[in-house]
């Protein structure tokens, strides 16, 4: 594969003067900005044309941390108490994960990750 940096352009680029650049590129762009509708106008137009949203179910409307377990599965007060406790613990556990930063674009893992380098040399 050839290195792009070594390729010679087939057509030499035309020299562009500063004035030419301003008149041909910057001025039309500036005019377009002035002619463009404002964001608030766009939002108003969108609101007019938008159909009313279907009502969301109660469960879907709540983020998981605000959702509640179905206590009807509990048959005894001890089960209910255990569910209350474990639910609270799990909510806290999930919150820990949500607060842990992740690099943008981070992939996921489902198995082991072999190291490239060990302290005592190459893996």
């Amino acid at each position: 594969m050839s290195d792009d940096s070594e390729r010679v352009p087939e057509v030499a680029p035309r020299a562009v003067s500063r004035r030419g650049f301003l008149s041909r590129v910057v001025a039309p762009a500036a005019a377009a900005v002035v002619a463009a509708p404002t964001l608030s106008a766009l939002a108003a137009a969108a609101a007019k044309s938008r159909k009313p949203a279907a009502p969301r179910s109660e469960a879907a409307a709540k983020p998981a941390t605000q959702a509640a377990p179905d206590f009807s599965v509990c048959r005894t007060p001890a089960e209910r108490a255990a569910l209350e406790r474990q639910w609270k613990q799990m909510i806290e556990t999930v919150e820990t994960l949500r607060k842990t930063p992740l690099p943008v674009g981070a992939a996921f893992a489902t198995g082991a990750l072999a190291p490239r380098r060990l302290r005592r040399g190459e893996a």
């Binding site: 983020p63 998981a64 941390t65 959702a67 377990p69 179905d70 206590f71 599965v73 509990c74 048959r75 005894t76 001890a78 089960e79 255990a82 569910l83 474990q86 639910w87 799990m90 909510i91 556990t93 999930v94 820990t96 994960l97 949500r98 842990t100 992740l102 690099p103 981070a106 992939a107 996921f108 893992a109 489902t110 198995g111 082991a112 990750l113 072999a114 190291p115 490239r116 380098r117 060990l118 302290r119 005592r120 893996a123």
Partner: protein, 467 residues
């Protein structure tokens, strides 16, 4: 002539040598194992199902082949037991749980097939915590086979979830057994029963034909008296299996593991607060283990794991996968037949985790694996105590007994790195206690090198419970 009752306390390696010297036959060894499993094993609730027909047939074949000069390796003719979540053709495999008490698979798990190919003799399916603890348990009686008793004190728990596997080895019923671990299920019973456990890297051993509890955390591995014996077993069961998409290609190499001198190796010691919820006797035993390792030349320095939520990430991953794995028990009502009274609420608990949270856990996991790989550029391995206390009573509430966290276990299982459990002497009341080693992914050879050197210098792995 009947063999001495303590014959099965010999190491796998030693048994193999004596079988080849014709000191005894595989049939004689197998009959001894079957008899001990039937009596002592049942007293301990360590046995789910005896497999005498299959065992006798395999033993006769082993004797015949060895006589004819066909040698399948160090396990040839040696009896063993398998955790009752490994499929065995025509033999019931209950997963330790009432809803599956009559489950009879029609083929063998890959591990069982590989051990058969290595000439090992399957004598029993061994008891386990119901569903390997997949829907939780907090008392040592949560098993179809009843309270999982410790051979060192039957009123204490054997550990779990590979309870019968560790108890059977500790009691001299079989010289090795196969266990599984999602989070602690090989290391915990190994430590509590005073035997050695080798929990390999995720993907090192095929899980085809094993009960799925957590597709991204489940691992299989050996439990034996010594780490050297674990190595022999791992040699036979490791390797890529096209029937398990997660099984790894990575070659299992033991190069360098025979070197005794540990000079030049640097271990990170993850501190534990024995004063908070531990036994003074366990702290002393751990100090003695560290001294033995230092005498071998190992440099041990206190260190901290990367500041990342390993345990929380493992908890979220496990909860969601386990509830999904056993969904049919919730929809069909079978969950109500389990021993653990909290199992029926676990699907509700899992609802606290959104799909995006689960994916976030898997994404964090990769970052954690990278962080640990950087950690292992500074340290060759990690040393940490197992449990800070001896095994709890068999009917004791573990939630009240164990109060501490498990950062090393959480990290090790989430990152899928190999770990070993080694006995380190008696703790309180003469009960066994142990410690753990953690190595980078696919570096089981390092665990073996450290563990074998430790076991050359100590004899805790040879200690036996009173009859």
């Amino acid at each position: 002539m009947a063999l001495p009752q303590d014959t099965l306390f010999l190491s796998v390696r030693d048994l193999g040598v004596r079988l080849r010297r014709r000191e005894f036959t595989s049939v004689e060894l197998t009959e001894l194992a079957l008899a001990r499993l039937d009596s002592l094993g049942k007293d301990l609730n360590a046995v789910a199902t005896l497999t005498p027909e299959r065992a006798r047939e395999q033993a006769r074949r082993a004797d015949r082949e060895l006589r004819q000069g066909t040698d399948r390796g160090p396990l040839h003719g040696v009896p063993y037991g398998a955790k009752d979540l490994l499929d065995t053709a025509g033999i019931r495999t209950t997963w330790g749980a009432k809803p599956y008490e009559n489950r009879v698979p029609d083929s063998d798990a890959t591990v069982v097939s590989r051990l058969e190919a290595a000439g090992a003799v399957l004598c029993a399916k061994l008891s386990m915590a119901e569903l390997a603890g997949g829907l939780g348990y907090h008392v040592g009686n949560a098993s179809l086979q009843g309270p999982m008793r410790n051979p060192w004190d039957r009123e204490r728990w054997a550990g779990g979830s590979s309870s019968g596997s560790a108890a059977a080895v500790a009691a001299g019923l079989v010289p090795f057994a196969i266990g599984t671990e999602t989070w602690g299920s090989i290391l915990c019973p190994s430590n509590f029963c005073g035997v050695s456990g080798l929990r390999p890297t995720f993907g090192r051993v095929s899980r085809h034909g094993a009960m799925a509890l957590s597709w991204t955390l489940d691992k299989l591995g050996p439990i034996a008296r010594s780490l050297d014996d674990c190595r022999l077993v791992l040699d036979a069961i490791a390797g890529r299996d096209p029937l398990d998409a997660d099984s790894a290609d990575a070659k299992l190499s033991w190069r360098g593991s025979e070197r005794g001198n540990l000079r030049g190796l640097r271990a990170a010691l993850i501190p534990s607060d024995f004063g908070k919820n531990g036994d003074a006797e366990t702290a002393l035993a751990f100090e003695a283990a560290l001294s033995a390792l230092r005498e071998s030349g190992l440099t041990i320095e206190e260190a901290k794991l990367p500041d990342l939520p390993f345990e929380a990430t493992a908890v979220v991953t496990l909860q969601v996968e386990a509830v999904q794995a056993f969904e049919e028990l919730f929809t069909g009502g079978g969950v109500r037949t389990l021993v653990d009274e909290r199992a029926p609420i676990q699907a509700e608990v899992a609802r606290a985790v959104a799909g995006t949270d689960y994916l976030r856990a898997l994404r964090l996991r990769l970052e954690m694996q990278r962080a640990m790989n950087r950690f292992f550029e500074d340290y060759d391995l990690i040393v940490a105590p197992g449990f800070l206390k001896i095994a709890p009573g068999v009917t004791e509430d573990m939630d009240k007994y164990f109060l501490g966290a498990d950062p090393v276990g959480g990290m090790g299982n989430l990152c899928g790195v190999p770990m070993a459990a080694l006995p380190m002497g008696p703790g309180k009341a003469g009960m066994p206690v142990g410690f753990q080693l953690v190595a980078p992914a696919f570096d089981e050879a390092l665990l073996l090198r450290i563990g074998m050197e430790y076991q050359r210098r100590t004899s805790w792995h040879r200690a036996r419970p009173k009859a």
